[in-house]
Symmetry: C2
């Protein structure tokens, strides 16, 4: 194999520098030259390694959720557990989510956001539900979950942000629970 020693390390330098910058500054506000500088290399090399800024973005911005907590909880506590999961989702997840939302003006990034929404929220919930409208309920719960992240992070609702976490978990938990397993009033 031809020398890959140096290439791998610089490629990874670019990758991690890009991930950090995209998370903290978003897609449009981070420049290829910034990434190159942070990685200690040349802007041209960034493009050479990842073809384009957009592909680099797509390669670095992955949002995953450990869905074990959603699987091992009894069905009647699924809403509460999901609420906990969402409100504990801080740090890097926030940056990735916002970068995807903000960048989704770009078609490919929009596709990525759609996929993320699907297999981050819809699918795990769908697997826990049964009944003819299980799909619909899963999608609605996913929309409610996304709505929480939207209100907190995208819209920046100060009222919700300042709320006591326990109360928010409780209220949003029962709300999600009602969507997932409706009370047949």
């Amino acid at each position: 194999m031809l020398q890959t020693g140096s290439s791998v390390s610089t490629r990874e330098s670019i990758h991690s520098a890009a991930a950090q910058l995209f998370r903290s500054r978003g897609y449009s506000r981070t420049t290829v030259r910034q990434i190159a500088a942070e990685a200690g290399t040349d802007p041209a090399l960034v493009i050479r390694h990842f073809k384009s800024k957009e592909l680099l973005f797509l390669e670095t911005m992955h949002l995953t959720l450990d869905d074990e907590p959603l699987l091992d909880v009894p069905l009647e506590r699924l809403g509460e557990r999901l609420a906990e999961l969402l409100l504990d989702l801080g740090g890097s997840a926030r940056g990735v989510f916002l970068a995807l939302v903000h960048g989704s003006n770009e078609p490919h990034i929009h596709d990525r956001l759609r996929d993320t929404h699907e297999h981050l929220f819809v699918e795990p919930l769908r697997r826990r539900l049964s009944g003819p409208d299980a799909g619909i309920r899963a999608r609605m719960a996913a929309a409610v979950a996304g709505g929480l992240l939207y209100a907190l992070w995208v819209a920046g609702d100060q009222g919700l942000l300042r709320m006591d976490r326990a109360e928010l978990v409780s209220r949003y938990g029962t709300l999600l629970q009602d969507v997932l397993t409706p009370r047949t009033s």
Copy 2:
């Protein structure tokens, strides 16, 4: 008065051209030169009239909601009415909402989105509610409402988009109603 005849008309040409382009192509994908061409004028004039592309964006992208339908409906049908309102919100409102969401990487646009969320959803609902937790319920309902628009337009959930409108109104209506006026189970 000094000649304002021509200036007003070109200024309005720029305004409407910008509004249309921002709505259909978003903030980052519409260029000042495109706006100028559409308005039949010069890129420099666009900046001269509106100081910057961002200020032009803020001046054109306003999202308003006719909240009368939320005021004249009995309280126990507020959720359903809100769901109808959200799902009828098509056309230009969709473009403005998406432009704000996508552009809110920019701090000033983020402020605008926060204000819009506040006085489009939170305030009208807050006014219809009473009780010690009225503010919280209004904010949560606003988050759910935003979540619907997020799932439909930002994430582009195909499952929800293909759903029967009447069923979506019914399901989301009762969901919102439960948030606004909780059943004390």
